[in-house]
């Protein structure tokens, strides 16, 4: 299979991310226009920063006149969860530094979720092209959504509020379905505890600490040894979440 063919398979796997990114990026474009950023300033932030939560934070910081060190500190905190994504999908990436740095630029929450679910099912020599297909689809849809938001303004979303609402649901549906597909029965108790911890931290501390706390609490509560029988090896492999259907 050619690189292009594998890349196109990745593009197909990235379509759910595209559906969810466009309306959110449109909202960013509209909000950026609202705080007085120029067309190119707004687009270049989407091109180079390419991080939804951080970009909305930048807009709020500009509005409030937050000093630079404060903005950088907050963006670093917001991005702390990315440190957990790399270790989980790095085994599927080629060891070449240049390729890994390219892949890192495209690694968002949604790309991680899609890659974690689907990358392991691709042939070894197709994995990088597949990942880049997903990543570039997400990146270009984010940039495209930003441009649409800037050009069409709030008029478009005001004219078709239900279409906008339905498109925004794509990201929720994506996370929900990928989470369901990755869960194995022996993990249920730990994941239930993690959900409660995430919810409590979300209420009292915010999204990023909640995601980190939930993940750590699941790891602390999960005891794989309890569920391993005499054929433990096979069962362990199943629990690693590597037996799902492809994209």
């Amino acid at each position: 299979m050619s690189v292009l063919h594998n890349g196109l398979r990745g593009v197909r796997a990235g379509v759910p991310v595209l559906l969810g990114y466009v309306p959110v990026a449109m909202a960013y474009g509209i909000a950026a226009k609202g705080v007085g950023l120029s067309f190119w300033e707004t687009v270049l932030i989407s091109v180079f920063v390419y991080a939804g939560a951080s970009q909305f934070f930048i807009l709020a910081a500009i509005k409030l006149g937050t000093p630079l060190p404060g903005i950088v500190a907050m963006v670093s905190l917001l991005n702390a969860r990315h440190l957990l994504y790399g270790p989980l999908i790095a085994k599927w990436l080629p060891p070449a530094l240049r390729k890994r740095l390219q892949a890192a630029f495209l690694l968002t929450d949604e790309v991680f979720a899609t890659a974690f679910h689907g990358m392991g099912h691709q042939p070894v020599n197709a994995q990088f092209a597949w990942y880049m297909g997903v990543g570039l689809t997400a990146w270009l849809s984010w940039i495209g959504g930003t441009v649409i938001g800037l050009l069409a303004g709030s008029g478009l979303t005001a004219q078709f509020p239900q279409v906008d609402q339905i498109l925004r649901f794509a990201l929720v549906a994506l996370f929900c379905s990928l989470a369901l597909l990755s869960v194995k029965r022996p993990m249920l108790r730990a994941l239930l505890i993690a959900s409660v911890v995430t919810l409590l931290c979300l209420i009292y501390a915010g999204a990023t600490p909640a995601i980190l706390a939930g993940t750590v609490s699941a790891w602390l509560c999960f005891v794989p040894g309890d569920h391993v029988s005499s054929d433990g090896g096979a069962k362990q492999q199943d629990m690693a979440g590597e037996s799902h259907g492809a994209d």
Binding site: V15, L68, A170, A173, I211
Partner: protein, 111 residues
Amino acid sequence: MGQTEFWLAIVVMAVVTWLSRALPFVLMRKSTIFGRLASGRFAILGPALLVSMTVVVVYSDLQQATSATGVLSYFCGLVAAGACARLTRNAGFAVLAGMAAYGAALVVLPA
């Protein structure tokens, strides 16, 4: 914030974001330690991240819901996405099914 300071902030944030994504990839290039992150007790890290992100996204959306119909439609979409994911084991179809059910519920259910 001046124009120079604004662009400096953007460049710094772009670099910080990229570094937070790249650091694990670079550190793990020649290390086999992290290869164990998909087995044993570490096998739960990926699913736990996905579940935690789902909880955050769902809770944040529900907080913004303004009507019971909106909440009900939201759950219709979630159930459809979940059921389709379980039946087809395909996330793409699940997203489409979830969006279709959510949209249908918004139209059909009384406001």
